[in-house]
Symmetry: C2
DNA sequence: GTGATAAAGTTAGCTTGCTAAGTAAAATTC
DNA sequence: GAATTTTACTTAGCAAGCTAACTTTATCAC
């Protein structure tokens, strides 16, 4: 009985936290001429570009048209460029421009700022517990 | 140093959990001819309809055009109807139709199913800790 | 009473998300 | 080798989100 109320509270907090973070982060990224969602796509490219759109879909866990449209927009803004694979004409490989590479540091900074705000005054022990519980919930869903 | 890694893991889990839940819930609500986001709007009306759109904006913590468009769609699907306030012609009040009232139970069921999945095998003690930590994070943001 | 300001909602346009349907290329089957 | 199936991406259209600008109504200041 009481578990349901507690569970409800958790669920609602989760919703509130994620939508608030998304909204704030979106506002913050605007200074860099980026939209929320694009940062993760770029983050994957910073690890190593030249990957295919399908790889991006898998990494980001979203559908191909979403990647197509995001990649288009990022290309338009000069952060990336696309080239057809030389062996397989169906495949598009995505590369960072210099402009795109230069975004890594400011984006990382904004990410860290938001993270610090979220976790402010939660002790290291509590963080470990929280990570464990989050992982458990994550596993429940996938 | 290590806190940063733990914090990063927490943040990433949060993102994964929320987007996965949103995707699954959206899929689930489709059976009821609802879109994710509309459920919360209806949930507020189930508590008591006849409220203004501004009240909905405040409750849902979103912008007025979002509510306008959601309300339009829900009205089109026959779940709600709108009436101008009698004292102030600027104000629209939102009411549930019978069809809209009947959605409460199935929506509540879907909500509970998803919650049960998310929190499966997390003990009551852990749930209390989790709730507390979520509330702390939430407070950090607002 | 008039003009200025504020409030409530709307329209237009953008984004990341999605589904459905389509095109082109590659792989598989016969 | 031809036909069929699968794969990678694209287009079109929908949604909830947002911002900017707008219209109408109410309130306030003078």
């Amino acid at each position: 009985m009481n578990d349901n109320k507690v569970g409800c509270d958790i669920r609602e907090s989760l919703d509130k936290i994620s939508s608030k973070m998304r909204r704030d982060y979106s506002e913050s990224l605007r200074e860099l001429n980026l939209h929320v969602g694009q940062d993760k796509l770029l983050a994957r490219l910073w690890l190593g570009d030249g990957i295919t759109q399908m790889q991006l879909c898998e990494h980001l866990k979203c559908e191909p048209p979403t990647v197509t449209n995001m990649v288009k927009s990022l290309e338009l803004n000069g952060f990336i460029y696309r080239k057809r694979d030389e062996q397989d004409a169906r495949v598009m490989r995505i590369y960072l421009t210099d402009k795109g590479k230069q975004l890594e540091e400011p984006v990382d900074l904004k990410w860290k700022q938001q993270q610090a705000k979220l976790l402010h005054s939660i002790s290291p022990e509590e963080l470990l517990i929280l990570r464990e519980l989050m992982k458990r919930m994550e596993r429940n869903l996938f």
